[in-house]
Every structure is written in structure tokens, then in C-alpha cells.
């Protein structure tokens, strides 16, 4: 770990927190870790999670060390950059599967988790990992060039979702029924970028029946990318094509039963994949941490799979 993790600037998270001005994001803003209150920095226990109690003690020990003005060997920190408002991946209440994964890593490393919160948008890697605010982000495509990826720890796919009571069956982008349906897809932006299903539909001439939902959404609302799943449940669109983990988590939480079907084909030749390997990302050059994390991902594979199952992450 870098020496930065040993310093005593315990309010740095707050300074680097871009979302601190956001309003309804987190009721009570319970952090599970420590936060700065009127009486200064204090550890906070959340729920009955024994790990968290352990973390709290660790932080207190660290604080004690800092208070003395010199460092006896402090406990290791696993510094993670994450979006505070993006279930099922992460949120500030530590409810996402990547939050759980961070705990798992920390347990293995005998470290405490320390978050820097930043919306995962354009500039995320630049403002977090590359700016030295953290050492790892917990999800990136395995072919991602802006960070050094670990080995993949899951592979998921885009899926079709639709109401079970809609009386349709959609398996493939080539199903003729698609042309008669209102289809929701997520949009990323211009400059040649977009979600693979958006491209796939346009390539097949489906444009007039396609409804776009920006993946950014309204950041003042909880988990903005989830709006497209809610739109299917409400009947605003007949079917949506959504990244697997998002669908797997939010579909069962709607008031009506939704069908989740992995898209076919897995790749639109020659270039358009719907299936992606997902890794963790460390700073380029940080091969030491990469190797450590690779080891954990290998050793803890059953636990990680069970965790992904609990969150309904479709895997292929």
C-alpha cells in the first residue's frame, strides 16, 4: 500500500467527496465506517456486522496512533473509490455487492476499507484512481485501458426484461416481435459511444420504436440507472435491454413479475459484444496490488460466486 494510506488526514474523504452537496441521496448518511461529527472523527458501528465492528476498532486504533503524533505500525487500509449512489454495485449505505466484495477483500488482507465517493461517470478514473484518492475500483471491463485490471471475477450479459403478464417471448435481437414493441435502451452519449443494444437495434433499423434512457439519469434520485427497469414494470416500454447485474437486482424488486432473458446473439459480428468480463481495476503499474487481488479472487471464488448469486447477477 502506498504511504498515503498511513497518513492522518482523516477528513480527506470529505474534501474529495463530490456528492456532499446532493440532497436526498442518503437518509441519515449512515456510513458504517467513520465520519466526522461535532466531536471530531468517530467510529460508527452499523448493524450487527462483526466485520464492521472490527473495522471500527481498527480505525480507533489508527486514530489513537495519529493522536500521538507518530505512527506505530498502523493497520492497513484498502482504499476504494466508488459511486455513492449506484446499486446494485455500490452505495454510501454500503448495500451493494461491490461493497460486500470490498469487505471480503479487506478481511483477507487484514485491512480496513476506506471509501472515496465519486459519481462513476466520465472522469471517474481520472478523478479517483489516477488522482491517488484510492487504490482500487471494484468493477471495470477486463479490457479496460484506463486502469490495470485484475483477473475477471464474473462475466455477465445484457438481458431482455419484460413483464411476465405481457404475453411475449423475446430471445434474440432478430425476433420479429421486437419490431412491434416499444423497446427501452440505455444511452451513454455521442462521440461514437453507446450501449451495445442501442447499436444493435439501430443496425437492424429499429429506431422509431426505441425509447432512450440515459444511463446517467437524475443523480438526485436513488440509483439513477434503475429507471429503465421501473419503466418496464410500469408499462412505459414493453421490453428493455439492460446490463445483467442491474436487471438481476432491480427486476425482483418491482411490483410485478419480470422475465429476465440473456440476449442472443452474444456478439453481433464483427465487433459488437453483449457479454463482458468484469475485473477490478488498480492503478497502472500497481502490479503488487493486482497480484494480491488476483490471489484473493482465486482463493475466494466460491464466496464471491455466492455473493453474486445473492444479488441476482446473471452470469454466462
Amino acid at each position: 500500500m502506498s504511504s498515503r494510506s498511513l497518513d492522518c488526514h482523516l477528513d480527506s474523504r470529505r474534501r474529495s467527496d463530490p456528492s456532499s452537496g446532493l440532497s436526498p441521496l442518503s437518509p441519515g448518511r449512515r456510513e458504517g465506517g467513520w465520519e466526522r461529527g461535532a466531536g471530531g472523527v468517530r467510529a460508527r458501528r452499523r448493524g450487527i456486522d462483526p466485520i464492521r465492528g472490527f473495522l471500527g476498532i481498527g480505525v480507533l486504533l489508527l486514530l489513537a496512533a495519529c493522536a500521538k503524533g507518530h505512527a506505530s505500525p498502523p493497520e492497513r487500509e484498502l482504499r476504494v473509490c466508488a459511486d455513492p449512489n449506484n446499486l446494485p454495485f455500490t452505495n454510501r449505505q454500503l448495500e451493494g455487492f461491490e461493497n460486500r466484495l470490498a469487505d471480503l477483500l479487506a478481511r483477507d488482507l487484514h485491512a480496513t476499507v476506506r471509501y472515496t465517493w465519486w459519481p462513476q461517470r466520465r472522469g471517474f478514473i481520472r478523478s479517483t484512481l489516477k488522482a491517488g484518492a484510492c487504490d482500487v475500483v471494484l468493477g471495470v471491463p477486463s479490457s479496460f485501458e484506463m486502469a490495470l485490471p485484475t483477473r475477471p471475477y464474473y462475466r455477465s450479459t445484457y438481458v431482455f426484461i419484460y413483464r411476465k403478464d405481457r404475453g411475449i417471448a423475446v430471445r434474440s435481437f432478430d425476433d420479429p416481435v421486437l419490431r412491434k414493441l416499444r423497446i427501452g435502451v440505455q444511452m451513454i452519449g455521442d462521440d461514437g459511444n453507446n450501449t451495445p443494444p442501442a447499436h444493435a437495434l439501430a443496425n437492424r433499423g429499429m429506431i422509431g420504436n426505441v425509447v432512450g434512457y440515459t444511463v446517467y439519469g437524475d443523480y438526485s434520485q436513488p440509483n439513477p440507472p434503475a429507471r429503465i427497469v421501473e419503466a418496464v414494470a410500469k408499462g412505459d416500454v414493453d421490453v428493455a435491454v439492460v446490463w445483467g447485474p442491474l436487471a438481476g437486482y432491480f427486476a425482483p424488486r418491482q411490483k410485478v413479475p419480470l422475465e429476465i432473458v440473456p440476449v442472443s446473439p452474444q456478439i453481433d459480428m464483427p465487433f459488437l459484444p453483449f457479454v463482458f468480463d468484469i475485473s477490478m481495476g488498480v492503478r497502472r503499474g500497481d502490479t503488487k496490488l493486482q497480484a494480491e487481488l488476483d490471489g484473493i479472487l482465486e482463493r475466494r471464488r466460491p464466496e464471491i460466486d455466492a455473493l453474486l448469486d445473492r444479488y441476482g447477477v446473471p452470469r454466462t
Partner: protein
């Protein structure tokens, strides 16, 4: 090719011709070419400048025409947006003696694109996010009279595109008006620094930000939004300068009533006529997130009572997902300054393929075109053409390439349509090489200057091409997506920037200066026949307005992407001021500490800027120069 006998109407030229011109273009014929602007109708320097200022509308409400009071009240200097100062104490003969007089640090390391303002004995400087406004006492150079720190949403920097720039403020009636990155317009008392009003206009949580400098016209403050990348719908709004209340708001997409298109709308070309084109030129509903943001420059013609501004590119869909012309993106609006009603519109890039936002400056001039005095709007455009339009009607009088262009072969002046090159159109998985100009255009936001003394438009611009190849995986909000692997690189000649003196009547360059990096700063020209601009590697330069000869330069602390201004100080001396502080889209590699090994960073711009960190570091600093 550079015959200057008369104001012959230039037809659209081939790229090759222009390149030849670039190679050969120099000063000897310049004397001859001075016959074609109105300024040269009267030969004696002083009245010429004075009269031309009046005729070009280059005057300000607060100041009699031709009487430059030595202040700088809006980024473009005047409503005609000429960035021309009548001050001549610093001139082509003595500018070599120019010395740094004083400096001021903003303590901000993001890109500094703003123009300082000078009102009386105070200078006003807006810094990048979190957008502090500094009032500097010119009687005690460098000392601060007050600092206004707006309440801004700190999440703005997580969602804003393209660094955290601000392009400046405007002064009127004792107030400084400007915008904050998180989408607010503010009015601040120029004397006390007290906030007079603050109006929330954009929703930063939806990706809507504001980076542009407002323009104050009569009793209204005009403001537009940024954020087309996030599916924001573009608008321009007019606020009551007294209260900050919204007087009108004109969207760039959607039904006519939202766009303020009514019976008074008379576009020149048939392609802009029809009901609700802002809806019907899109797939169903796509206009609601269609872009066309208004993040550039506004001009004003008091005689016609029209304002002029451009709209950004369509989004957030890719071109194949938004068939149609995608009105009213990528074009120029003329609107009634009081009501906002549209008078005409000209779409420069229907169905934009290349991110060619049409938000550049509109320079309002009266020029002799084919023997006739015409009230024109000159627009050096991202797509590589200088457009000369009749500003009363929206007719394109000429559209002439000033840079290397491969994606189009010219503009059909009968229909107003661009002749596009099919082979250069992009698509996912499709390899397209040598797309010129690249996405930032032959010229981005960096504003040009026009001298009525030379009849030339001085344009800082880019010489960049790009390749689209293969597919790259990326990740936003936990969602993997694909984009083209975009790489930008220097155009012909191997240099990435140019500074061009352009004759808008002849449609020809008179001279060009090659720059290592994109020329991303604004330009300034004075009655002393000196042109000022800055480079991204940190040289602030003075060149001869007639010949382009370099007369003076000074290495500042950080690369320059700001806008130079000049003013008469309380001591009666002429000063020249510039903000240094590299950043913006082009300079993100330094301001954002991006990794140069990833050429596709900053949407592919990084590849062209890899060596910038060797030439400059970040840090905002104001430099003020004067003769000893």
C-alpha cells in the same frame, strides 16, 4: 489566387487551393487587399476606425461609437464581437518593449478560459470551478478589493464534461453577471461584491452545466446551457437583469412553441421551413434529449435588434440512431432581442456526424460583397469553413475552407446544404481514417478578432484529424458500453495549431502562423496593428496585424487557453492582460493529470496532446503587461 483588385465573391474553394495558400500566403499583397472592408473606404486611420466601428455595430450601449473608453466590459469587447480595441499606445513599433507589469494567482489549477473585465479602476476575473469572482484594484496592482465565492454544488465537477472551465463575465449597470458550472446565473454588485440575485437554471444532477459567458442586452441577461453529452436539451434564456427572473426561454429542439418559432420566423432556405421541425426531424421523442446546447458566443445588432448565437451538436444518440436533420442543432439562430422570437435559422451541419458543435463566435461586420455593402455575420466554423451570412436574412454569401477538410467538399449556396463525403461517415465497428477536421473542429470555441484597419479576421485554430477504428469497452455507472477507438493527430504539416489572418471578403488567408499545439486561446487586435494570442505551451505573443511577423513573446507559467484583453489603466497607460492556466478539452492531459499512454483519453484528444506535459504545467495566473 490572392488577387485583391475587388471584392469578388469567392466561390467555395477546394482544400488543395487553401493548402497552397497556406504555403505561399504572405504579406506583400496585403496592402492591396485593404480595399475591401468598409474600414478601408476611408484611408485616414483614426476616422476609419471610428466610422467602421459605427458601421459594424461595434459599439456598446454605454459608450459613443468610436470612442473607446479603454474599458473591457464583455469578453468580446463589443456587441459585434470584434475584440478590437482602439487603443494604440502599444503598437507594432514599440510592442517589443512590452514588460510584465503585475501578476495575480487564482490558486486554481483547472483550465482558465475567461476574459478579464475592466470597469473603471477595477479588474474582474472569473476562475474555473468553484467559480470565484475576484475584483482587483488597478490602483494597487494585484491587490484584491473583494472576492465573491458563489455557493456551488460540489457534485458539478463529477458530472461536467470537459474540464471545469468558465468563459467569463459581463458588466452592465453596476453589476457583474456570470454563470457557475452547476447551472446558476448570478449578479454581483460591482462595487461591493455582494450578491444581488442568483437564479438556478440548469440541473447539474441531470448533467446540465453552464460554462459560457452571458451577454447583457438592454435589460436582459442572456444565458445558455452545456451538457449535450448527457442528453441535456439545449436552451438560451433571457433573465431580467434587475431581478434574475426568466423573461423567456428558447429551446433548441422540440415543438415550435418551445423553440419560440412563430409567424416572424423567415429562414432563408427551404430546408429550415415547416411546422415543428424540432420534433419531426428526429425519431419519436428523441428531441427531448436531443442536445443543441448553447455554450458558446452571442452577438447583438442594435440596429436590427437581433441577437445571434449557435447551437451545439445533437445527442446523445449516435448518428445512425437519430435519422433526420435533428433540428435545431448545429446551426445559427437570429432572434428578437426583446422577445426571443426566432427570425431565421441556418443549420450548418444537419444530422451531425462528427461532434461539430456550431457554437463559435459570430462577428458582425458590414462588408462590400460583390460591390454591395452587406450587413454580414462572419462565422469561422468547427467544420473548417468561414461562413459569411447576410445577418438580416440568414443567406449564406460564402462558405470557404480555412483548414484541411476531408469530410465535405463545400456548401451548396442554393440549398444551403453541406456536400458531405459518404466515405468519411462513421459507424460502430467501421474503420474510418483521416477524418479532418477532428471532433474539436478546425476551430473550436476560441474566439477570433477582427480589425477594421486591416479588414482581417484573426483566428486561433486547430490542425487536427482523427481516426475511428475498432471498438473499445468502457464503463459508466456500472454499465459496460462500447465506443469507437478515436485517435486524434496533427493534420498536414505535422503542426497541431495555426493562427490565421483571414480576409472574409476574398475568402483567403493572408498569412498563417504554425503552432506546435492547437491554438486554444482567444485573439485580440488593436488600433496599434498588434494582434495578441497565447499558446498552450505558454507563450503569449504579439504579431503584426498586417504581416503576421512575430514582434514579441513572453513565456508565462502555464499554457494559455484564455482570452486576451487590453485596457487603459487609471494611470492613463495601455495594458494587455491574459489569464494563463492550461486545461479545457485540449489541455485536460495537464489540468486533469491524464495518462498520456492512453491515447483515447479525453475522447481521443489525448493522442494529439501527449507531449504537452513536457512543455507546461498547470496553475491559474493573470499576467498584465505594459510598456516601461
Amino acid at each position: 489566387m490572392r488577387s485583391s483588385k475587388e471584392g469578388s465573391f469567392p466561390s467555395t474553394r477546394s482544400t488543395k487551393k487553401i493548402l497552397g495558400l497556406v504555403a505561399g500566403g504572405l504579406a506583400l499583397t496585403l496592402a492591396g487587399c485593404q480595399t475591401r472592408t468598409e474600414a478601408q473606404d476611408q484611408k485616414t486611420p483614426k476616422p476609419a476606425a471610428a466610422r467602421s466601428a459605427a458601421l459594424t455595430g461595434a459599439r456598446m450601449a454605454s459608450m459613443p461609437a468610436g470612442q473607446d473608453d479603454g474599458q473591457w466590459l464583455m469578453p468580446a469587447k463589443n456587441y459585434a464581437s470584434t475584440r478590437y480595441s482602439e487603443l494604440g499606445q502599444i503598437n507594432a513599433r514599440n510592442v517589443r518593449n512590452l514588460k510584465a507589469a503585475w501578476t495575480f494567482s487564482t490558486g486554481n489549477t483547472r483550465g482558465h478560459e475567461a476574459a478579464p473585465l475592466v470597469v473603471g479602476s477595477t479588474m474582474y476575473v472569473v476562475a474555473p470551478f468553484p467559480n470565484y469572482l475576484y475584483a482587483l484594484d488597478l490602483n494597487n496592482p494585484g491587490s484584491t478589493r473583494w472576492v465573491y465565492k458563489p455557493e456551488v454544488d460540489s457534485s458539478a465537477q463529477g458530472v461536467a464534461c470537459c474540464d471545469h472551465v468558465n468563459r467569463g463575465a459581463a458588466y452592465a449597470n453596476g453589476r457583474i453577471f456570470y454563470n457557475t458550472l452547476d447551472g446558476q446565473a448570478v449578479a454581483v454588485d460591482a462595487e461591493t461584491g455582494q450578491e444581488v440575485w442568483r437564479t438556478a437554471l440548469g440541473n447539474i444532477n441531470k448533467g446540465e452545466s453552464i460554462t459560457m459567458a452571458p451577454l447583457v442586452v438592454k435589460d436582459k441577461v442572456l444565458v445558455g446551457n452545456s451538457g449535450g453529452e448527457f442528453g441535456v436539451r439545449g436552451w438560451l434564456t433571457a433573465l431580467d437583469a434587475e431581478t434574475g427572473e426568466i423573461a423567456w426561454k428558447a429551446f433548441s429542439t422540440g415543438p415550435d412553441k418551445d423553440v419560440l418559432i412563430g409567424p416572424g420566423f423567415r429562414p432563408f432556405y427551404a430546408k429550415e421551413r415547416g411546422r415543428d421541425l424540432g420534433v419531426s426531424s428526429w425519431p419519436p421523442g428523441a428531441w427531448k434529449t436531443g442536445g443543441g446546447t448553447v455554450w458558446g458566443w452571442i452577438s447583438y445588432d442594435p440596429a436590427l435588434n437581433l441577437i445571434y448565437y449557435g447551437t451545439g451538436n445533437p445527442g446523445p444518440w449516435n448518428p445512425d440512431q437519430r435519422p433526420g436533420d435533428n433540428k435545431w442543432t448545429c446551426g445559427i439562430f437570429a432572434r428578437d432581442a426583446d422577445t426571443g422570437e426566432a427570425r431565421w435559422f441556418y443549420q450548418i451541419s444537419p444530422h451531425d456526424h462528427y461532434d461539430y458543435d456550431a457554437i463559435n463566435e459570430n462577428v458582425l461586420l458590414d462588408l462590400d460583397i460583390r460591390g454591395q455593402r452587406r450587413k454580414v455575420l462572419v462565422r469561422p466554423e468547427r467544420n473548417g469553413y468561414v461562413y459569411v451570412l447576410d445577418r438580416g436574412t440568414g443567406e449564406v454569401l460564402s462558405a470557404t475552407p480555412f483548414a484541411y477538410v476531408t469530410v465535405s467538399t463545400g456548401v451548396d449556396l442554393k440549398t444551403g446544404r453541406m456536400r458531405e463525403v459518404e466515405a468519411k461517415k462513421t459507424g460502430v465497428g467501421k474503420v474510418v481514417r483521416e477524418i479532418c477536421p477532428a471532433a474539436p473542429g478546425a476551430k473550436d470555441w476560441q474566439p477570433s478578432a477582427f480589425s477594421p484597419r486591416t479588414g482581417l479576421l484573426y483566428m486561433p485554430h486547430n490542425n487536427l484529424c482523427m481516426d475511428f477504428e475498432g471498438v473499445e469497452a468502457n464503463y459508466i455507472a456500472g454499465t459496460p458500453f462500447v465506443g469507437a477507438n478515436v485517435l486524434m493527430y496533427a493534420g498536414p504539416g505535422g503542426h497541431r495549431g495555426e493562427f490565421t489572418a483571414w480576409d472574409p471578403v476574398a475568402g483567403q488567408a493572408r498569412w498563417k502562423i504554425k503552432e506546435r499545439f492547437p491554438a486554444w486561446s482567444g485573439a485580440l487586435v488593436t488600433a496599434g496593428d498588434v494582434v495578441f494570442y497565447g499558446t498552450m505551451d505558454g507563450w503569449f505573443k504579439a504579431v503584426h496585424a498586417v504581416t503576421g511577423q512575430e514582434l514579441w513573446k513572453f513565456k508565462v507559467g502555464s499554457g494559455i487557453i484564455g482570452q486576451p484583453v487590453t485596457y487603459r489603466g487609471p494611470d492613463g497607460k495601455q495594458y494587455v492582460a491574459i489569464l494563463s492556466g492550461v486545461g479545457g478539452w485540449a489541455g485536460a492531459i495537464v489540468a486533469g493529470d491524464l495518462d498520456g499512454r492512453d491515447g483515447t483519453g479525453a475522447l481521443g484528444f489525448m493522442n494529439a496532446m501527449k507531449d504537452l506535459p513536457q512543455h507546461t504545467t498547470k496553475g491559474g495566473m493573470l499576467y498584465v503587461f505594459a510598456l516601461p
